[in-house]
């Protein structure tokens, strides 16, 4: 079966050990977690894990089943890239003198639609939100000038279709 990118969304109670439990399921099948993000969700007191893997659909489905089985997991879903709106964020720390000495840097900032977060005497920080390839392109463009620090976040995603979780959670709220 063909492998592709899947975004797994896990709605759960906020529990200390749950990340360990979930990551163990990927570990057992030797599936690399390409990106992981944990945040609150649209529902009060419900956490959301957003996990990106490269796998077959069969395995994505089985993994979601095994995740959902965990006591504190309310519901888990998997989606292809086409089914989601997704973004990543990145921060670039760059030496300040480049901002003034290298005209090209300013073009990169403009072309990439990134923001200057802060400017200090020695460095400035650029923030970029977008698809993975856009961040990679910006990284490649800046690299020849020297990047002091670089970090990229995990993917965050929402689905185009309604998440059926909403109904389940509505039931919870009434309990």
């Amino acid at each position: 079966m063909e492998k592709q990118w899947y975004t797994i969304s896990v709605y759960s109670e906020n529990n200390v050990g749950l990340l360990n439990r979930i990551s163990g399921i990927f570990l057992k099948r030797h599936i690399n977690i390409e990106s992981l993000n944990v945040s609150k969700s649209e529902i009060e007191n419900v956490s959301k894990f957003t996990i990106v893997i490269y796998s077959t659909e069969d395995w994505a489905r089985k993994i979601v089943g095994q995740i959902e089985k965990q006591i504190e997991v309310i519901k888990a879903y998997y989606h292809t890239d086409d089914e989601t709106i997704y973004q990543e964020s990145a921060l670039f720390k760059i030496a300040s003198d480049l901002l003034f000495d290298e005209r090209q840097i300013q073009n990169i900032i403009k072309d990439s639609n990134s923001q200057i977060v802060t400017v200090a005497r020695d460095f400035f920080v650029l923030a970029k939100t977008g698809r993975r390839h856009e961040i990679d392109e910006m990284h490649d463009a800046l690299e020849p000038y020297g990047i002091m620090q670089f970090v990229r976040s995990g993917r965050i995603a929402v689905t185009k279709a309604t998440m059926p979780i909403t109904n389940i959670l509505a039931e919870f709220q009434n309990q």
Binding site: E13, V16, G17, V73
Partner: protein, 577 residues
Amino acid sequence: METLKAQKVKNEKQAAIRISGAEAIIHCLLAEGVDLIYGYPGGAIMPVYDELYKFQDKLTHILTRHEQGATHAAQGYARVSGKVGVAMATSGPGATNLVTGLADAQIDSTPMVCITGQVPRHLLGSDAFQETDIVGISTPVTKWNYQVTKASEIPEIMAKAFYIARSGRPGPVLVDITKNAQFDELDFVYEKCTGVRSYKPIPKPDQNSLKQAAELINNAKRPYIVFGQGIILGEAEDELKALVEKAGIPAAWTILGLSGMDTSHPLNVGMVGMHGNYGPNVLTNECDVLIAIGMRFDDRVTGSLDTYAKQAKVVHFEIDPAEINKNVKADVAVLGNAKETLGLLLPLINKNEHTAWRTEFDKKYQIEYDTVIKKDITPTKDGLTMGEVIEQINIASEHKAVIVTDVGQHQMIACRYAKFKQTKSNITSGGLGTMGFALPAAIGAKMGAMEREVVAIIGDGGYQMTIQELGVIFQHNVPVKIVVLNNDHLGMVRQWQELFFESRYASTVMTNPDFVKIAEGYHIQSRRVTERSELQDAVTEMIASKNPYFLEVRVEKEDNVFPMIPSGASVSDIRLK
């Protein structure tokens, strides 16, 4: 009326009492109906043991000789009684010694709660004496686990632990309790847990899939049922029998399903899997509708998945949604508790006989009887066989005993030949294949069903892994019957070495001690059988005994278990020799 109702609620609601966390743990256990626990004390669990001392008239604690023994005893107790087994240990090595039992209970869906002591909260993460991250370690092998660091958490967490362990597809739960939480006081009120919002233990059966299942079954020419432990855990034995009889469907079992249906029932056709019966394996690939009930298509059951029941429509009755389409694709999946789903299915099923199809099983049985079974249970060669020992136990115990087995050749032989009239009677380590399981599990099984005969059948290898539990049998005079089938080898591994590694017997030959003398050292009545002529008398004497009894039978050293599906082969390619 209103006031009366309000009054009633008020009365039912316990008044809070101010007690220590350690005492609260005892009250939680009592509230959950626990009267027996297995365990081993140590520094970080001492406050709880101090309370156990005070409550010993209400709650019996059995000191096993190793924490692993405590888990297997709790498992044996749970499997035979249907109740939650409880094991307790201290932090560090005490806790890590529970891991094998947890893993075994997890893969075999056994309800168990393990309580471990932990270093005080302020020392967590400091590599304190006997500190180990047991919550981290046990995560992959528990249904749920939790570390309690405040006394006030105890009632809620204990209630949740028991609820999760026993509900839905059962499993093991570990509660780790820091020492400060045992010493500190709390206002104790106990409320049983009735639900966890993120956890749906039993899926609701879907009418549509039930109808589809019934239609497939009613139209089938060669329907075939394979059932697993879901029948026993779901207490669906009567519903299964009713279905089998109404629709005239031959039914086979996985080793964990064994005893879920009377072994002498004409429609009980035997065991599936690697060392299962010939017909049930071969005919898996000739049926037109395969009805799997409460089983998970383990690789030891299916052999090669590429050639497993490809011709058949598969109907899967299962409580755990994650098992659907995990190994074998289901054409129709019916989620739910087997008792409920089979109950709903029954009225939709037409009466049928399937006489011609059933004779296929009889024919295959005859082939297996002539080539394998006859030689196993009524041998004419000199050496004693494991099969004839099981047959003698069947006769002496009149098919009424609980049979507890370890892992290996003796286990396969016992599961193949032991006869059962009653459910919850076959206690074995199936999924994990834990050598050393049987002796402590037999202790738990006996204590969970004192009125029943409990016979542990163990190989000489596995016996020595938990032999120290003879101490429990001696100290508490637990009247279990222990049969060691001694072939001076790790028999199953030796069999594989003979068949697949050109008889290179790497580390499978054992020089054994005098097992009879060891049992005598524990003051357990014991006997050794080396000749066929003594076997019947010895087994009869053993079963008649009201006390613990140890019987060593010296069996043929290099016998093999057949039939056998070589690892990764098709069920159709099962070997008879």
